[in-house]
């Protein structure tokens, strides 16, 4: 068993405080919006009032004449380069279908113009003076309408590239299969089929998007941005604006939450162009309303899942069909679509016949993008609902059915190789998997045996329990790349320079813990600098659950290289009178290098010798990591719910999540990732939904009308970290940031079924929908 090889850790596995924690709890100016450079221009964006229209004329003369206006940007005076706002590895798998300002607007909220002025008041006044003439075009407000023959074409421009079939409003298309579907279903004894639909939902980080740009003393462009992808932001801004990449520096300060919405280059190009045009600092801060109408959302989807099984409960055929609404632009359209299958189907690797196919479709609605879970959340809803139905069909306990079919250690799935991120995937064998234990512990903690099927009733309120299982990945294999630099100081401390982008997850801290573990020092001896393209080495960024596994491995490698240098110097110091000492036998602990005979030198002494005395050199190293596989974290979710059959109100009484993330480097932070993701997921399941007018305008763009959960709304959440050891991961770890969000929707849906016997297949499960489903079952 891999677990038996698990080493004993000193720093890893401890609940270290966040390395940036004191600054955050004392309110020090750490965020992009906290910097106030003298002479900063305020930039405001004029958004389209129409869902689909051509701009026939735009007159900015009156706006420009207003005192205090520094510049006005429109399609007439900005680069026409096509690009994608998706911050992904290069070349991006998303279509180049956007430009800074287009002659056509494709959703209510699309960019029309931008004004830079001395103050927000002046910028807002100037915006009212911009005269725009629109020729309205027919709107396409649903995926079905977009796919109808003769539907208005949303991307009819000639200069876009990478769109699957623009004439059919299809941004992306995926179709893979294994085995023979017709035969697979013909040989199945029980077949179930379900169609699930998910809503438009927004990330709502409490810090909205913010960017501050300026020129430094040498005239280089400095971009401080609340971004998850500083290196992609630099590359994309350079290309769009035609500025040499070396003239741009992107700094990522603290980020007030991202969840994927800041994996998008939304504002950096605009602020940068204002600074280049005017020579002055510029700032753009999205209002909460803009965050809803003009940033990014989760892809709403309709997913059909058909399962065939033998009477012994083994899955024999699995078919998943996806229609994904990517909104007006195709950012992340293909890759999110792929992940609907690639991050769900491998969990049931016993099925010999599998097909996954679908489309990402353009509509004249807000743009979808990366959102924690990245398609797996939607896929898991449909797959795990179907599994619950199959359990009923086979008359097998849902936990037992999953146990029979779930992937185990040393097993693989053909889906790993067939389906990657917008291209073929990478074959892999699962080397750590605590899923069975997760199911066992979760069932026990929720009281599965005693509560399942009991329908305990209190007046009109009925209780039920439900469960589901989930997986994700740890980075994108053979695409993601991370690097880390460590350099030693003569007091025995280290600078850890990482391109990895801590967006509030605590990655700066856990990466410091990895380095500290290898080097035998406390975390306090690690000075962490993250994400400054001038200073830190490259990292693809914080997405795809990549940081712990991919960036962590780069840090571990850099630390091992530095350890080798330290040991080499120390061996010379510890060897008796010109003799030699076996470097392999030296141990680093308590900030010292200790020889087998007990003699020791301090790390400070080692570095002082290397810097000032003998054979002088800088102890330090840079190391990179590109993963060959993406070890999935696994999770089992259990929930007890109470359904009020009169009002239709669903309340979660308790939520239990048992998670296998390999070695938890900082257990409290790992739990926090799961707790936060579950709270967000319960919001999707019960309350969160962007609503639209018949003209495609968001009707509820406020945190009052778009209901995310507050402290009173969140049920008790119990997270259990089930230990395993991932041999390919840094210190045995896998990533954990996304997986938690996949659980609540199917788990709550299945618990509602247990309570009142209705299948809810459309999120969120509002009282109205629950009542309607109850009425449909008991008419009159």
């Amino acid at each position: 068993m891999a677990e038996e090889k698990r080493p004993v850790f000193v720093v890893v596995g401890k609940n270290e405080r966040k390395v940036d924690g004191v600054a955050l709890v004392t309110g020090r100016p750490k965020f992009a919006g906290d910097l106030d450079l003298p002479g900063t221009l305020c930039v405001k964006i004029l958004h389209s009032p129409h869902a689909h229209a051509r701009i026939t004329d735009i007159d900015t003369a009156e706006a420009e004449a207003l005192p205090g206006v520094a510049c006005v940007l429109t399609h007439k005076n900005t680069p026409a380069t096509r690009y994608t706002t998706a911050g992904q590895g290069y070349p991006e798998p998303s279509p180049y279908d956007a430009r800074m300002f287009d002659t056509k607007v494709r959703f209510v909220g699309d960019r029309v113009a931008a004004v830079a002025a001395e103050s927000e008041e002046i910028a807002l006044q100037a915006m009212k003076r911009i005269r725009v003439r629109y020729e309205e075009l027919p709107r396409v407000l649903s995926v079905d309408a977009a796919l109808e023959p003769g539907a208005p074409v949303i991307h009819d421009e000639k200069d876009s590239s990478g769109i699957y079939d623009a004439a059919k409003n299809t941004a992306a298309d995926v179709d893979i299969d294994v085995g023979d579907m017709a035969q697979g279903f013909a040989e199945s004894d029980v077949i179930v089929e379900t169609v699930c639909e998910t809503q438009y939902a927004q990330h709502t980080p409490i810090e909205p998007h913010v960017v501050q740009t300026s020129l430094d003393e040498d005239g280089r462009l400095v971009i401080r941005s609340s971004t998850q992808v500083p290196f992609h932001a630099r590359r994309i801004v350079a290309r769009v604006l035609g500025v040499p990449l070396h003239q741009i520096r992107v700094i990522k300060p603290r980020i007030g939450g991202g969840f994927g919405v800041k994996q998008e280059v939304l504002l950096e190009d605009l602020a940068a162009l204002v600074t280049l045009r005017t020579g002055r600092p510029a700032r753009i801060v999205f209002s909460r309303q803009e965050e809803f109408i003009a940033s990014r959302t989760r892809h709403p989807m309709r997913i059909r899942v058909k399962l065939g099984a033998r009477t012994d409960g083994l899955l024999h055929a699995v078919e998943m069909e996806v229609l994904s609404n990517t909104g007006a632009y195709g950012a992340h359209g293909l890759t999110v679509l792929s992940n609907v299958g690639s991050k769900t189907l491998p969990i049931y690797n016993k099925a010999k016949n599998v097909r996954f196919f679908g489309k990402a479709v353009y509509t004249n609605l807000p743009v979808a993008g990366a959102y924690r879970g990245y398609g797996a959340t939607q896929g898991c809803f449909a797959l795990e609902t179907a599994m619950d139905e199959l359990a009923c069909g086979l008359d097998i306990d849902p936990v037992a059915l999953r146990r029979r079919n779930a992937i185990r250690v040393n097993e693989s799935s053909p889906i790993f190789q067939k389906l990657g991120e917008g291209r073929e995937g990478v074959e892999q064998t699962v080397k750590s998997c605590g899923l069975e234990r997760c199911m066992e512990v979760g069932a026990q903690r929720i009281g599965w045996e005693s509560k399942r099927g009991k329908r305990s009733r209190d007046g009109s309120r009925v209780r039920g329990v439900g469960m589901s299982i989930h997986m994700q990945g740890s980075g994108i294999p053979q695409i993601d790349m991370a690097a880390a630099t460590l350099k030693m100081n003569e007091d025995g401390s280290f600078n850890l320079l990482i391109g990895a982008t801590d967006l509030g997850t605590g990655s700066d801290t856990i990466l410091a813990q990895i380095a500290a573990e290898v080097l035998g020092v406390p975390v306090s001896k690690m000075i962490v600098t993250s994400s400054d393209t001038d200073v830190t080495p490259f990292d693809t960024g914080a997405y795809a659950s990549s940081t712990t596994y991919v960036s962590g491995k780069a840090v571990e490698r850099a630390a091992l290289a530095v350890r080798g240098q330290i040991v080499h110097v120390a061996a010379a110091m510890l060897a008796a009178d010109g003799g030699t000492l076996d470097e392999d036998r030296l141990v680093l602990k308590n900030e010292r290098v200790v020889a087998p005979n007990g003699r020791a030198v301090t790390l400070a002494e080692v570095c002082q010798r290397a810097m000032y005395q003998t054979g002088q050199f800088q102890i330090g190293a840079t190391a990179s990591f590109v993963p060959d596989e993406s070890p999935p974290p696994f999770m089992a979710s259990f929930a007890e719910v109470e359904v009020d059959t009169e009002t239709g109100l669903v309340q979660v009484v308790k939520y239990v999540a048992a998670v296998d993330c390999g070695v938890a480097i900082n257990p409290k932070m790992a739990e926090g990732q799961v707790e936060g993701a579950i709270a967000n997921g319960i919001g999707f399941a019960l309350t969160e939904e962007m609503l639209f007018s018949s003209k495609g305008r968001v009707r509820n763009p406020t945190l009052f009308d778009y209901k995310i959960l507050g402290a009173r709304d969140v049920p008790p959440i119990e997270v259990i970290l089930v230990p395993s050891y991932e041999p390919t991961g840094p210190v045995g770890a896998k990533s954990i940031a996304e997986i938690g969000i996949n659980g609540p929707i199917p788990t709550i849906a299945n618990a509602i079924y247990d309570a009142v016997g209705i299948r809810l297949t459309k999120t969120p499960f509002t009282p109205e929908r629950v009542q309607a489903a109850l009425r449909a079952r008991h008419p009159g």
């Binding site: 966040k18 924690g21 709890v25 965020f31 707790e675 507050g710």
Partner: protein, 157 residues
């Protein structure tokens, strides 16, 4: 208009712009620990204590605060020592991105000042106006209870 505020114990005179909110004035004056999340009183990121009570500073006109005491997060750990709430938020893992943290801590301070030994329900109620998208609140609820116990101990010890 000229207004006088005692911010974090120091009396100062400020020029409040017409229509300016207390949030805008405080941030303009460098108290950037006061965060803006919505500007509409929905998220609580801009929470400060105004004469000892938690308010959304985005909903208070600066002029209306004339003559008041204001406590921002910057004033909580004067003298270098962290407040028990700050310590507990760090130890319990209640801080993720940290953007809602200043407001959350000040809302908790208001709660604990008036309810030194709150039930879990009272803590949930006390921070119900402060949205957090990162944590799911579990760690904050625990941190506030831990801090409450420490503060009670300090009072009686």
């Amino acid at each position: 208009m000229r207004i006088t505020l005692a911010v974090n114990g120091t009396r100062c005179t400020f020029d409040a712009h017409p229509g300016e909110t207390l949030l805008e004035l405080l941030r303009r004056e460098g108290y950037v620990g006061v965060k803006k999340g919505c500007g509409a009183g929905d998220c609580g990121a801009c929470t400060v204590l105004l004469d000892g009570r938690a308010v959304n500073s985005c909903l208070v006109l600066a002029g209306k605060a004339d003559g008041s005491d204001v406590l921002t997060i910057e004033g909580l750990s004067q003298g270098g020592a962290l407040h028990p709430l700050q310590e507990a938020f760090l130890d319990e893992g209640a801080v993720q991105c940290g953007y809602c943290t200043p407001g959350m801590i000040l809302a908790a301070l208001d709660l604990l000042t008036h309810h030194p030994d709150p039930s879990e329900e009272e803590v949930r109620e006390g921070i119900s106006g402060n949205l957090c998208r990162c944590t799911g609140y579990t760690k904050e609820l625990r941190a506030i209870q831990v801090a409450a116990a420490k503060m009670r101990e300090a009072r009686h010890g």
